[in-house]
């Protein structure tokens, strides 16, 4: 598995180096290039969003296994809908009111949000108030000092635990804001709530996280 990861990492790095134009391109142009048949554009797009999108899904659901399924389903939908992205692009652009955000990112996180809601509705369960070990686990950094790693791991675990204890709406707002880097308007349009509601939820959520990190 590590060999595969190394190979993929080298491949993605080489692709990024060999295609600086693609790396600097916007999400929309990359998606359009992929729709035209350029698979390297999708690789750049995928590499750009896989981390935040993965963390958003796993921390929203609280389970790495179910988050992985949602992650896979979401990207499959992106692949399947590549032809119709042009029409979706125009409707997604209104999510980014200040034109600084990415319509593709908002679209991707909307797909993830809908899948997560479907999953929770299908299972007829409330979102997990705790996260499994794979989500709570703090990734080890070889270059960091062991003491620093221990402190970071402890803080990470407290942060994740506090995040898991948040109400689902507040947790999702925090994740969309922190991981998706979406604006309040984009979050409101995605979740179906007004900007002030989203802002209020975010305020409450961050206050609770601050207490846990204090």
């Amino acid at each position: 598995m590590s060999l595969l990861a190394t190979t993929l990492h080298l491949y993605l790095s080489a692709a990024a180096v060999l295609a600086p134009v693609l790396t600097a391109a916007s999400d929309e142009s990359l998606m359009q290039a992929y729709s035209a048949g350029d698979t390297r554009a999708f690789e750049v797009l995928y590499t750009r969003h896989r981390g935040p999108f993965w963390r958003y899904l796993t921390r929203l659901i609280g389970s790495s296994a179910e988050g992985e399924e949602l992650f896979q389903d979401a990207w499959q939908r992106v692949i399947v809908a590549r032809e119709s992205y042009k029409s979706a692009n125009s409707s997604a652009e209104h999510l980014s009111t200040d034109n600084t955000g990415s319509p593709f990112r908002a679209w991707l996180f909307r797909i993830g949000h809908n899948l997560a809601m479907d999953r929770l509705r299908h299972k007829n369960i409330a979102p997990e108030s705790s996260m499994d070990d794979n989500v709570l686990q703090f990734p080890a950094h070889s270059e960091a000092e062991p003491e620093q790693q221990s402190i970071s791991a402890e803080a990470h675990q407290r942060l994740m635990q506090s995040l898991a204890e948040l109400p689902h709406e507040q947790r999702e707002v925090v994740l969309l804001r922190a991981e998706g880097e979406l604006s309040l308007e984009e979050i409101g349009a995605l979740t179906g709530h007004g900007r002030e509601t989203v802002k209020s939820r975010l305020r409450y959520a961050l206050a609770k996280l601050k207490q846990s990190l204090a």
């Binding site: 595969l4 993929l8 981390g51 993965w54 989500v135």
Partner: protein, 429 residues
């Protein structure tokens, strides 16, 4: 720019949202850019994206793309199964322990033999490799022989039944005086059967040992069939109690109790002797036809008598009036025709013997209903009945009126009805 921009450090120090921005910064600092999806998932999704492009722009129904999707689905199912196993491992462990324990209990009680325990041991005296195999072959051959013997015995039994049953049935159905005619033939048949039994016993003793010996002893205890016995349990009485169940013994028993050839030879004689008797007895169909014809004659005769009586004397008998409907005999008796007295006074009636009964009981009962209605000496003796029927008709009870009229007509078919009642009977008005 939103003040809660997580990537903006400039707004993190202003206001409440700025203070919260520090929380977001801390979140990002603690969570960092990890974790990331597993590399295997990255590879599969990239392969899926590439395959989708190769599949063309018309759709994603190409084989390779479908295969990759199926692979992803299988992997997900496998992971779900693994998770389920991990979640339920205590139950699986408990089930395994219970299974092993149950098997151990069975092994200790001897119900379940341990693997290899059924193999013969070298130190056992009964163990010989060649004889072991030969025994198996011999057992198999014996099984085949037994099956064939049973088939032969069944065929012989069927043949014996075909030849024996008519003799027994005919003999039992035969009157005693006719049995004497076939007694010599049956006696000869019994002797032949006794001889056949002795031959079968000899074969039986020769071919098998103890089992056949027991059966022979039981058969020797049975009474000799010196006289023909036509009872149903005659054969059962000679059967031994401890009949062996081996195929050879069964076959010998079938031979022993098979009908002798003389019995088969006596069948034509018995049939010839009983033929006149069978021909003399009428068939059930002919008997039924005869009885029906007799009944028809009686019914016709009764009807004729009734018609004659009704035509001669339409007045009911006074005795019938006094007797009422309770006495069937007097009710069944038709009214005697009135005879004028010599002095020209009151009408006296002559006692007549009861005529032949009506062919049906229902007619008598209907007649009883109107027995008290007749008015002796009146112009219309059934005026009361007619009035009752008219009253029903006029009150709207048409069906009841018609029913009463029908009963009356059935009881007195020769009586001529008034015109209005005729109309009622025909049209219902």
């Amino acid at each position: 720019m939103d003040t809660l921009d997580p990537k903006s450090n400039a707004s993190s120090t202003t206001g409440e949202l700025g203070r919260h921005q520090r929380v977001l910064d801390a979140y990002l600092a603690h969570s960092g850019n990890e974790p990331l999806p597993p590399p295997s998932l990255d590879a599969k999704l990239l392969a899926l994206a590439s395959s989708a492009v190769k599949a063309g722009s018309t759709g994603l129904t190409e084989t390779d793309f479908t295969r990759i999707e199926a692979g992803l689905l299988n992997e997900r199912l496998s992971k779900a199964s693994t998770r389920s196993r991990r979640r339920h491992w205590p139950y699986a462990l408990a089930a395994s322990v219970a299974t092993i324990g149950f098997a151990a209990i069975l092994a200790r009680t001897g119900l379940l033999e341990a693997p290899g325990s059924s193999q013969p041991k070298f130190n056992e005296p009964s163990y010989q490799a060649s004889s072991y195999e030969a025994k198996s072959v011999a057992q198999e051959q014996a099984s085949v022989d037994a099956t064939a013997a049973m088939a032969d015995a069944t065929a012989a039994d069927a043949q014996a039944a075909a030849s024996e049953v008519p003799v027994t049935v005919l003999a039992e159905a035969m009157p005693l005086e006719n049995r004497e005619q076939v007694a010599p033939a049956l006696a000869a048949a019994s002797e032949d059967k006794a001889k056949q039994n002795s031959v079968a016993d000899a074969e039986f003793e020769h071919s098998d040992g103890a089992t056949r010996g027991r059966i022979a002893a039981a058969q020797s205890d049975a009474p000799a069939a010196s006289e023909p016995d036509f009872g149903a349990g005659s054969l059962a009485a000679t059967a031994p109690d401890d009949v062996a169940t081996t195929p050879g013994a069964a076959r010998s028993l079938e031979k022993a109790f098979a009908p002798p050839a003389a019995v088969s030879a006596a069948v034509p004689a018995i049939t010839a002797a009983s033929a006149p008797m069978l021909e003399a007895s009428p068939s059930p169909t002919a008997m039924a036809a005869t009885e029906l014809a007799e009944l028809d004659v009686q019914a016709t005769d009764a009807r004729n008598r009734r018609a004659e009586f009704d035509a001669a004397a339409p007045v009911e008998s006074s005795q019938a009036q006094s007797a009422g409907a309770s006495a069937d005999a007097s009710a069944n008796a038709p009214a005697a025709p009135p005879k004028p007295s010599a002095d020209g006074g009151a009408v006296v009636r002559e006692e007549k013997p009861a005529p032949v009964a009506e062919p049906t009981i229902s007619a008598n009962s209907k007649k009883d209903e109107f027995a008290g209605d007749a008015q002796p000496g009146a112009v219309n003796p059934y005026a009361k009945t007619y009035a009752a029927i008219r009253a029903l008709r006029d009150s709207g009870e048409i069906l009841q009126a018609k029913a009463m009229l029908a009963r009356f007509v059935k009881a007195y078919p020769a009586v001529e009805l008034p015109a209005d009642l005729e109309v009622l009977g025909k049209t219902g008005n």
